[in-house]
Symmetry: C2
Subunit: 433 residues, 2 copies
């Protein structure tokens, strides 16, 4: 504990206070292995939060590929390098034929920035449509999409539509089909306002599974229709797969879950198992227009190091069947959590796919009123029991379960036990509080 | 050669044609060691271009630190980690007392973006002043500074002043002191126009040694006065040390060469010897204001991997005396190149500090008219002789010499021989052409 207090004080000066830390009492993590993290006192935590180390913390194949490449060659991309080309080819081949070429970068922010600029150059128009509770990164351009239309006003170049969901629908009492139409109307309206303003409509960008919105159940057919509408208005469809992709849902891509075909795909977090690595993939024509307009060059991207590590991650996902594992472990975990809904009115909903599950905490009997404080309390209690989760969603009230893809049935069972204990404790305290 | 042609065709599809490659016939580099790169046929090249591998290609200390950390722990920054704190402390300590805290990121672009936004939040104003031939990165915000006022018009939020130089001064016939005043007037004008427009003045940003401008000799005292003027107008002074810093000039920082004290320091390229790693350092107050306004979080930054690799680079710079090496090898190299000025009228000027030297190519007897084609021809010929340079500068006519800091006296002597041969060949061809 002294250790944590003194480190925190040093950190407040070295990084500036306000650099975010998880949990009421922060963790001092010193080692990772597979789905586990260990603190300075040797305590083991089951990591149910980190999607970056998708093939496991300290994965040997990745660490070896990284070490070998760094000890052989690591330069910028203005020399030919076969590994870089092969990695781009392998990435493109994971999509349909519309995706041919790749622009590598170092972060999801950079890759989303490339995607938005690519769409603007290709269409000659400026307007970007996103949801009202999204997050796509931290640059000035990409950061302008954060919660626009929700927590802050739209701009002349960014419009929002309410994210599609069935749990708190924008209109009550509609059939799923009619609800779908209601959301599509709001999307159409966001596009039409650009056409009226003169900015014009360049692109629709969504996280394919609406992760930051809280993993909503999306009305059937919404995304296919949304993509049609965007294209009919002359815009492009950008799938942000930074959280949704790379086997997280039990499928390779989130757009397979919500059922649409993107023009531009953005990937990031899990690509390098911790090495900064991100990509924007599209048709060759879109990529070449972008390159011609910008002469884009990224010193650290498209490097032999990114390629070697990125391919080791692809190899490891395949060799260990981690896509299949995400589906096989995630489905019963979600089912078991769904059973808990009835047991406690504070568990309003359980959603997600594969190894990405959200447990929505609400105030019992209060019309689904979000309870962010309860979600935060859950994450802190679960941490004390050795299980690392966080909270997310449009109302910050969704317990976010998103472990490395090496997470096992045994880990899930142990978690469920801790989850039940946590629920019992918090229920008891509320009754007597 | 077949190898190069077929790789190029694959690359044009996988990355999109237009992804830049160096040299008329691109190189297929497969290995690096110290100051050397090796192509697929085993040919050795002396690397005189790459500043990213500052402690040498495939540096063992860095590769080992990277391998060890990746095999131990590599997570995001919302857990406490002593290495991250220590690295930030060590970085801040390399500056004066005004620099206290660090925001880590993954690229110079991201770090400059943080710097500009930090200045805007701190001042509550929007206007950025840069030079008319600069480059600070590739995002929409930072890319708006590229050649503004030179190749493209100023915007309401970005104004340019002509970069200070003595070789092609903005007004002929002035004393150095009067020339300094003439440039300062242009800077004052750029600031004043913001004050008049209502945007207000937020920051002056410069590469501390004006690297992209072509490493000009700056009129004595210019930067100290420029910083005073910026501060008197309520703005902040941002030193972009992505190219200038980390011992490149024989001093730790470029601002020591041009003689000013920055409020915000941006570092990137050499920090991780190839690992994506960048930083924005400033007073704790500036950093905390930025953090409070943005809740900035960068998934891959402030990681144990960045810290371990970044500290290995600092250790290696010190252990091998590479700052001293840059000064000791760079000075005679520049002196020897300066001697060549008289021998060929096409060598208009030789400038730089430490291991960053620029040779300005001009059309002989044509009033210093820049000769970019000749600089490009020099780089291609030197490549054929086994020495990798490039061309840069406001007119693209400066042969850019910027080797890894492990570059030796012997490498410099071998280069000078190749340089003389190249000059002889090109002079001969011009005479007979």
């Amino acid at each position: 504990m002294n250790d944590v207090v003194s480190l925190k004080a040093r950190r407040d000066r070295a990084l500036g206070a306000g650099a975010a830390l998880f949990y009421e009492t922060p963790l001092h993590i010193v080692r990772g292995e597979g789905a586990y993290l260990f603190d300075a006192e040797g305590r083991r935590y089951v990591d149910m939060y980190n999607n970056v180390p998708c093939v496991g913390h300290a994965n040997p194949r990745v660490a070896e590929a990284m070490a070998k490449q760094q000890a052989t060659l690591n330069t910028h991309s203005r020399y030919l390098h076969e590994g870089v080309i092969e990695f781009a080819e392998r990435l493109a081949a994971l999509h349909g034929p519309q995706i041919e070429s790749v622009v590598f970068s170092c972060s999801g922010t950079e890759a989303n920035e490339v995607a938005l600029r690519m769409a603007r150059f290709a269409t000659g128009r400026r307007g970007i449509v996103c949801t009202n509770a999204t997050y796509h990164g931290n640059s000035e351009l990409v950061g302008a999409l954060t919660h626009v239309g929700g927590a802050r006003p739209e701009t002349g170049e960014v419009h929002a539509f309410p994210f599609p969901e069935t749990y708190r629908p924008i209109r009550e009492g509609l059939s799923e089909e009619a609800l779908c139409e209601a959301y599509l109307e709001r999307l159409e309206d966001a596009i039409a306002r650009f056409q009226a303003s003169g900015a014009g409509f360049a692109a629709l960008i969504v996280c394919s599974i609406f992760a930051n919105e809280g993993l909503p159940n999306v009305p059937a057919g919404f995304m296919a229709r949304a993509a049609e509408i965007a294209r009919a208005a002359g815009g492009l469809v950008i799938a942000d797969e930074v959280q949704a992709g790379y086997c997280r849902t039990g499928r390779w891509w989130g757009y397979e879950v919500t059922g649409f075909t993107p023009d531009i795909v953005v990937t990031g977090k899990p690509m390098g198992n911790g090495l900064p690595l991100a990509a924007t993939a599209a048709s060759r024509s879109l990529v070449e227009t972008f390159r011609a307009k910008t002469r884009y060059f990224n010193t650290f991207a498209s490097s032999p190091l990114q390629a070697a590590v990125g391919m080791a991650v692809l190899d490891e996902l395949k060799a260990r069947g981690l896509r299949e594992n995400a589906a096989a472990v995630g489905a019963p975990l979600k089912a078991a959590l769904t059973q808990r809904k009835g047991a406690w009115g504070a568990i309003g909903d359980v959603r997600g796919e594969g190894l990405f599950v959200g447990v929505e905490m609400v105030k019992p009997g209060a019309g689904k009123a979000p309870d962010a404080a309860l979600a935060i309390a859950m994450a802190n209690r679960l941490k004390d029991k050795g299980f690392l989760t966080s909270n997310a969603g449009a109302y910050n009230n969704v317990v976010k379960i998103r472990p490395p893809l090496v997470f096992s049935h045994g880990d899930a069972e142990a978690f469920l036990e801790a989850f039940d204990q946590t629920v019992d404790e918090l229920r008891g305290e509320r009754r007597h509080g």
